[in-house]
Amino acid sequence: MARRVSPLRIALTTVVAWTVGFVIFFPILWTVLTSFKTELEAFSSPPKFLFFKWTLENYRLVQERSDYLAHAWNSVALSFGSVLLAMLIAVPAAWSMAFAPTERTRGTLLWMLSTKMMPSVGVLVPIYLIYRDLGLLDSRVGLIALLCLANLPIVVWMLFTYFKEIPKGILEASRMDGIGTGREIVFVLAPMALPGIASTLLLNVVLAWNEAFWTLNLTTSKAAPLTAFIASYSSPEGLFWAKLSAASTLAIAPILVLGWLTQRQLVRGLTFGAVK
């Protein structure tokens, strides 16, 4: 923006924008603050903002009482496992659709998108019964497969839009220079495709990490990720706010960082290229 804007206006906008940002961010900030309080102070009214006795006790308790680490490991396994699996399936497909499109490509892509539109609740019953009969309830393998399929359309779409942007001329040029297929992949294709692959990976890990329909309905304890771990706090037992906050902070912190890193890809990944 090259227009000149008066300093007063910038100052005013700054105040308004920071206020709005603060209000929207407040629930997260408040959760983090509360996680460092004692249970009594967490519940105190009027609320204490910064002047309380900071403690790490809740983090220790959360780990001790409900084994945070086991659930966190499940979240990591489910989100990365499902997305890596989806990548294996999607990269070849997206690659061939981007580089050698046929008259069917458009239809295939739109059809894939439409499978993402099916509400999970519509197929809850059969999936639950199939999983029960196959012994896949509360198993990591079962959920990895399920989340992989649920995110596959988005993975294919995102990869496709990235691969579309790789200039085709450069491939032909390197072929003319006579480098072999192996070296073509390592030195020419990989460097151009990797940023897109990385963004797709990250955004989909965020989506899988936060998925809370299948993980709540198909797990009980062994394979339960953090979404289910937090849900176990919905039936309160005594004072539990500080512990809930500590557990919540632990559940969202890693993914918030990943999310912030992928924010530029968010629009592209979730609007299927309809908004640029």
Binding site: A17, S234, A251, G259, W260, V275
Partner: protein
């Protein structure tokens, strides 16, 4: 440019994705349709029998269904209205020049990355608690009576939580669209002395129409099946005041073990989502060059 050879190769490369997605879509859906024609309760295994459309007529005339459908529509409609209106305003704000833009941007999009169970429980306890919640403290400090959110206005509480989660998405999409509005157009309007309001209504808003449509369609698809937020806060209650379609089907299937009825409900949900999906896919398709 595709030769016979690359065409065959292309088909082989695309096949795994297509086959898997096809199976993922068609097998459970076919089973849901099949179950929906049975009287089938998990508590009485072996007594399944074909009942035709009975589950549908039962489900569709069940007052709980009408109620849940209304709740679903209220939830989707309110969240859409809140997120689109606030989203446009916040996007306009973030499009201005000010100090610390990237930090404010991070704060605004953060709620999108918070898992639904966390946001629901944090809102319910830390913010909306009638005695010790932050909202209660604000209300009493200003001399109002504190609201017991989940007892007095349970649906509104859920709407606020879900709107908070989706506001970043709407804002980000609208901001992206707004930034593609030509600077030249802005400058021209500036020089002509166009008033900010008329500039907004005659140039910015029409430019955003497409992005708003995308936001509405995509959010609708996700909002039709809001589940975790209800599951961990109200459990559909009090009574059935916050039971939406997704929660009703869940309760029918996994709490009452009525496979037939839940399946009929599932098909209703699929049909509803498909109406929205039809428009979304057409809109995306228009933009797609392959």
């Amino acid at each position: 440019m595709a030769t016979q050879h690359t065409r065959v190769l292309g088909r082989i490369l695309v096949a795994p994705s297509v086959i898997l997605l096809f199976a993922w879509m068609i097998v459970p859906l076919a089973m849901t349709i099949y179950f929906s024609t049975l009287r089938y309760n998990l508590l009485n295994p072996g007594l399944e029998r074909f009942v035709g459309a009975e589950n549908y007529s039962y489900f569709l005339t069940d007052p709980a269904f009408i109620g849940s459908l209304l709740n679903t529509l209220v939830l989707v409609g309110s969240v859409l209205a809140i997120t689109v209106v606030l989203g446009v305003l916040i996007a306009l704000l973030l499009d201005q020049m000010f100090v610390g833009r990237s930090i404010v941007r991070l704060m605004v999009i953060a709620p999108f990355f918070v898992m639904p169970t966390v946001s629901a429980l944090v809102w319910k306890n830390l913010l909306m608690h009638p005695v010790s919640g932050v909202f209660a403290w604000i209300a009493t400090s200003l001399g109002f009576r504190a609201i017991d959110w989940f007892a007095q206005v349970p649906m509104l509480s859920i709407i606020f939580i879900v709107a908070w989660q989706w506001l970043p998405f709407a804002t980000l999409v609208l901001l992206t669209a707004m930034q593609s509005l030509d600077n030249e157009e802005k400058e021209a309007a500036d020089m002509d002395g166009t008033r900010p309001l008329s500039f907004f209504f005659h140039i910015v808003l029409p430019h955003l129409a497409r992005a708003i449509t995308v936001v509405v369609l995509i959010q609708t698809i996700f909002l039709l099946t809001v589940f975790a937020e209800i599951f961990v806060t109200t459990g559909g209650g009090p009574g059935t005041q916050t039971t939406n379609l997704a929660f009703l089907i869940y309760a029918q299937a996994l709490l009452q073990y009525d496979v037939g009825g839940a399946s009929a409900g599932g098909i209703v949900a699929v049909v509803l989502a498909n109406i929205v999906a039809f428009f979304l896919v057409r809109l995306v398709g228009k933009n797609l060059e392959t």
